[in-house]
Amino acid sequence: MGNVLNLRLRKSYPGFELAVSASFPSGIVAIFGPSGSGKTTLLNCVAGLVSPDEGEISLNGQTLFSAAKKLDLPPERRRIGYMFQDSLLFPHLTVKENIHYGYRLTPPQMRRINPSKLVELLELGPLMDRRPESLSAGERQRVVLARALATSPNLLLLDEPLASLHTGIKGRILRYLKAVDRELAIPMIYVSHSISEVLTLAHKVLILNRGRQVAYDEPRRALSQPAVIPAVDVESLENLFDVEVLEHRPSSGITLARLGETILALPHLGQETGKVISIAIRASDIILASAKPEKISARNILKARTEEIHSLGPRVLVQAHLDQPWLVEITPDALANLDLREGQDVYLVVKSSSITILD
């Protein structure tokens, strides 16, 4: 697979300079960094809302910007979708009119995505005649995603689309984004300052700090950079998973659900079996044991293998693998005590009550 987006650019503001040079493959690439690191400026340069001072940007071989050739395509001719941080739906139009706004401006031969498909994929049917003001924050983000996708863009830019949402809705929107990635195969650049989002979604991550490109790699490798620490310090890390409800055991107070090959015991809930739901487990709520613990009240004892160990200042992040990567947060003291190494068999201990059901 060739690269979708190639860029090399420099943009200065008083007291700030953004300098990035990277090639983006298809799939989801995250741009990660603390606030003020230039993430949004980079997206705006790609979208054509801000002109770089120097450099070149090309999408699928077409030059969008070139300082040398004095070329700067206006945003409406770049065929790039943009999902803004605040949804920015048109308040004077209904949901349906919002979604059709860009669709109608797309030349018929370029329409690859039908709005009705988006309505189905993002479950917007009941919202179509509503006005943006009457929607919840999560509904708004789904509509704005549909509006951007209805133009059949060659690239979708997402600027912290989950920042204004609470955790419960985040999981759902993440699931929709994964569905978009799977069903529509539109390359996405996803700006975020949340490690959990990056690990859940992205195939690659570009890390920015004060306008400089610090790392550009697979998420697991890139996130071991020291520049990540300031951002991680303030965040409580969560593991977000989609699980399938298997069976309810009301008398035991638990519900069993499947995550890949693993069976998890969740707090008892009323969801019907077979339904896929999102759950969140805080990295600091997981106990890590080097031997199988016995006679313990926690209902989930999961065998896993440590893959990466990141020391982030006063915190240690262990990435363990069982079907999917799990993030576990321990103290440097625990790390020394357990004598943990990468590639070691461990047990993850999770109380069912520390699993949050997101929807």
Partner: protein, 231 residues
């Protein structure tokens, strides 16, 4: 109740103010947009020029129009030679005077209305494939609708009261260019107090109607709620 001259004055006033607003509004929209949105140089000059009719005696505005539209003026001579049209001392000239005098008021109101539209919504439209003009037509104007309407009503009301510029460029010809203020001036000159009072009542009624329409329109928009005004 109204004499035929007074009735003519009413009809002419409405006609003059309507055409003046209709001609002035697109220009005011364009100037307002440029003043708020564009980053061209010379905005201060444009801003000052537009304000002139507001601060200069209307007689001077009328004199300027007379110079432009007269047989020897650049616009007047072109219209006369090309189409055989002479605007001076016609109701159209009165409408132009009304439009020009109310232009600064409309521009100011439109500036406020356009500045009230979240520029990020316009950027969203651009990213969805709308060019600059389409963005103005489908996002900026619909969202600034209420302010633009208020600007038009303000311009209309100002046009109804136009006197100084009108009398210079359109004269005071009953049935042709004599609007309500001019008719009232004539009544006062002739000592016809009864006529003057009737015209005062007429003017008051027109003003009340304009304000009521404005009020109703603003209220109706209010019922729809405008969440974008706050967030």
């Amino acid at each position: 109740m109204l004499s035929s001259d007074e009735f003519q004055a009413l009809r002419l006033s409405l006609q003059v103010a309507s055409l003046g607003t209709l001609l002035g509004l697109p220009i005011a929209l364009a100037i307002g947009w440029v003043l708020v949105k564009s980053s061209i140089r010379g905005k201060v000059v444009l801003d000052t020029l537009v304000s002139f009719p507001l601060v200069l005696p209307p007689v001077i505005t009328g004199y300027f129009l007379l110079l432009m539209l007269g047989r020897n003026g650049p616009i007047g001579s072109f219209l006369h030679d090309a189409f055989g049209i002479d605007l001076v001392f016609t109701w159209v000239a009165a409408a132009l005077a009304a439009g020009l005098v109310s232009l600064p008021l409309m521009v100011r109101a439109i500036e406020v209305a356009i500045a009230g539209v979240d520029p990020r919504l316009e950027r969203a439209a651009r990213s969805l494939g709308a060019g600059p003009l389409r963005t103005i037509a489908t996002v900026t104007i619909p969202l600034a609708y209420r302010g633009i309407l208020a600007a038009a009503l303000l311009g209309f009301a100002r046009g109804l009261g136009e006197f100084g510029a009108t009398i210079v460029v359109a004269g005071n010809i009953p049935g042709q260019t004599q609007t309500i203020p001019l008719a009232m001036f004539t009544d006062l000159q002739a000592g016809d107090d009864g006529g003057a009072v009737r015209l005062v009542v007429l003017s008051l009624s027109l003003a009340l109607i304009s304000l009521s329409i404005h009020h109703v329109l603003v209220r109706r928009r209010g019922l729809l709620r405008r969440p974008w005004a706050t967030s």
